[in-house]
Structures are given as C-alpha cells and as structure tokens.
C-alpha cells in the first residue's frame, strides 16, 4: 500500500475480504447443493486437498480481517474514551486471533 494508511487501507481491506467471503460462501453453498459430501469422512477428506485447505485458510483470514475492521468501526463510532477503546480493541483482537488459532488447529 502506498502513502494512504489511515482510513483507506481499512476500507479497502474490508471490501476485498467481503468479496472473498461472498465468493467462498456461495461456492460452499453450491458444493453442498450439487455435490454434498456423503458423510463426515468425505467432508474431512476435502481438507486433505491442498487447494481446499488453502481456500479455507484464506476464508478464515478474510473473516478475521473483515470482523476486525467492523469491530474497529463500531468502537470508533461509539466508544469515545481512548482508554476504553484500547481495552475493547485488545480484547476483541485477542478474541479474533485466538479464533484464528483455533481454526488453524482444526485445519492441521
């Protein structure tokens, strides 16, 4: 990214992540609709394919990024005390990072 760092970067990240989330979710829906995995093993089997794992990993990252920008927006709108905003930010960021870590644990 260039010199634009403050507002534009978050805005762009939110839009790009939303785009990927939409593509992934609709693809997933299409998969379940047209070639649904027959059982749990078949569903797990999907994750043994590298492309699927990568696509899922990217989905998790996009979800975390999207959620973070959204949370940050809500905090900036409503929480006007710098200290409280920092406190909520740290809490939400830890929640998101641990959720990401959990998703990663499920993948490997």
């Amino acid at each position: 990214m260039s010199r634009y760092t403050g507002g534009l970067r978050g805005w762009v990240w939110q839009r790009f992540s939303a785009l990927y989330l939409a593509v992934f979710i609709f693809s997933l829906l299409a998969l379940f609709l047209f070639t649904p995995p027959e059982n749990y093993q078949a569903w797990r089997g999907l994750f043994s394919q590298t492309w699927w794992s990568l696509a899922f990993l990217l989905f998790v990252v996009a979800l975390l990024v999207h959620a973070w920008v959204g949370f940050r927006d809500v905090l900036m709108d409503y929480v006007h005390s710098d200290f409280l905003r920092l406190l909520f930010s740290v809490f939400l960021l830890s929640l998101l990072i641990s959720s990401g870590g959990w998703a990663l644990m499920l993948l490997v």
Binding site: S2, R3, Y4, G6, G7, L8, D73, M76
Partner: protein, 230 residues
C-alpha cells in the same frame, strides 16, 4: 392545523417542552409562513429565516422527524400534528435556533477555496463545458446543515468526522479542474475519522432540500484516493 413546537431557553429553563399552536389552513402556506404566524401569537418563539425561497439555508428545522427548510416545505403536505424541532445533535441556543459553529468549523477544515498550482492568469481560469459539468451536484450546496445534522456518524463524532456537507464541499474542489492541490486534499482526508466514518447510511441524501447527493460525493472521494494510489 395543529402545530407542536419545541421550546427551550437553556438560560432560564432546565428542560425543553413542546408547545401547541392552532392555525387556520391557508392555501399555499409554507412552514416558514406558519412559524411567522405562530410568532405573532407568541413573540418569544425564536427561529432563523431569511430569504424565504430555499436559497439562504437559514431555516433548517426538523419537521415530523425529517430535516428540511421551513420556507420550501408546504404545510399541506405534512401530517398533523406538525412537530417542529431544532436540527438534531446541535446545542440549542433557543427554541429552533441551534449553534452551528462546529458544522462551520468542519467546513473550514476542507479548505473550501480554489488553490491553483500555477500563478493566477490576468483574466479568469477557463474551463471546458465537460470540466464544468463535473461540478454539477456539488457546487449547489447552500450550507443549511440539514444533511450533517441528519447523519448518525456526525452525531457520534461531530468533532472528528467532517460530515456530509464538508465532504461534499471537499469533493467539489477535488472535482474542479482549476484546483492544483488535489493530492494534499486527498491525503488530508485519509484518516480513520474525517471521511471513513461515513457508513453509507444516506440520511444526508434524504435530508438535502436541494436534492444533492453527499453519499455519492463521498464515494467519489474514495475512488479518487484509490486511483491516486494505483
């Protein structure tokens, strides 16, 4: 017709109240005319007005929940009882008169004047009709404040978020072929608050009595930022 008018004098009263007035319906009566007649009944009622034809932008008020200019709002189109309140989110000076200082400060922050990059020519700087067309929908703002005071993002952060009016003005100068300071203008707007607190709620578009579209202008600024960095 029944009117319920917001009354408050912060210097002498603890809380605001709504006062009822009854007026006979007159053909073609505008809300400003009604307020003037109400003022004849109770001359202590304070409200701003001037040109009476939607040009000066003085008589912005909140009528039945929507911001509008009293002078171009037909009373016949309003549902009774007609509730008239001051523009929301601004400190009340008295009755329908609010303190718009912060709104003007945000306007000032976007440097609302042309900054040519070259020395000024002896005569005017010429524009092609196509260049001039780009200012359509941007220059007509009369600064009544109906948009910014209808914007929830402006209610939440009126000191940091510039608000739809100032951003429309910022776009007006960014779109002007005669301005030579576009990059600095864009960089100035790029922080988490000034521009990006806009969540495309579009209350500004609904409120604008001149039918302008600040949301579209904000979108244009974002596009310009994207183009500028790529």
């Amino acid at each position: 017709m029944l009117f319920r008018i917001y009354r408050f004098d912060p210097e002498t009263e603890q809380a605001s109240s709504m006062q009822e007035f009854e007026l006979p319906m007159q053909r073609g009566m505008m809300l400003r005319d009604a307020l003037l007649l109400i003022q004849e009944q109770d001359e202590s009622l304070a409200f701003r007005h001037s040109c009476g034809e939607g040009v000066c932008g003085s008589d912005g008020v909140n009528v039945n929940g929507s911001n509008t200019l009293a002078c171009i709002t037909r009373v016949a189109d309003l549902k009774e009882p007609i509730e008239v309140r001051p523009l929301p989110g601004r400190p009340v000076i008295r009755d329908l008169v609010v303190d718009m200082s912060q709104f003007y400060r945000q306007y000032e922050r976007v440097d609302p004047w042309l900054k040519p990059s070259e020395p000024l020519p002896e005569k005017e700087i010429l524009q092609s009709p196509a260049e001039n067309e780009k200012l359509e929908g941007l220059y007509e703002c009369i600064m009544c404040g109906c948009c910014s005071t209808a914007c929830p993002s402006f209610w939440w952060n009126p000191d940091k978020f510039l608000g739809p009016q100032a951003l429309l003005t910022a776009c007006r100068f960014l779109a002007d072929s005669r301005d030579g300071d576009k990059q600095a203008r864009l960089e100035y707007l790029d922080d988490a608050y000034k521009l990006f607190r806009c969540h495309t709620i579009m209350s500004c578009v609904e409120a604008c009595p001149k039918n302008l579209n600040p949301t579209k202008a904000i979108g244009q600024i974002k596009s310009l930022m994207l183009k500028d960095q790529s």
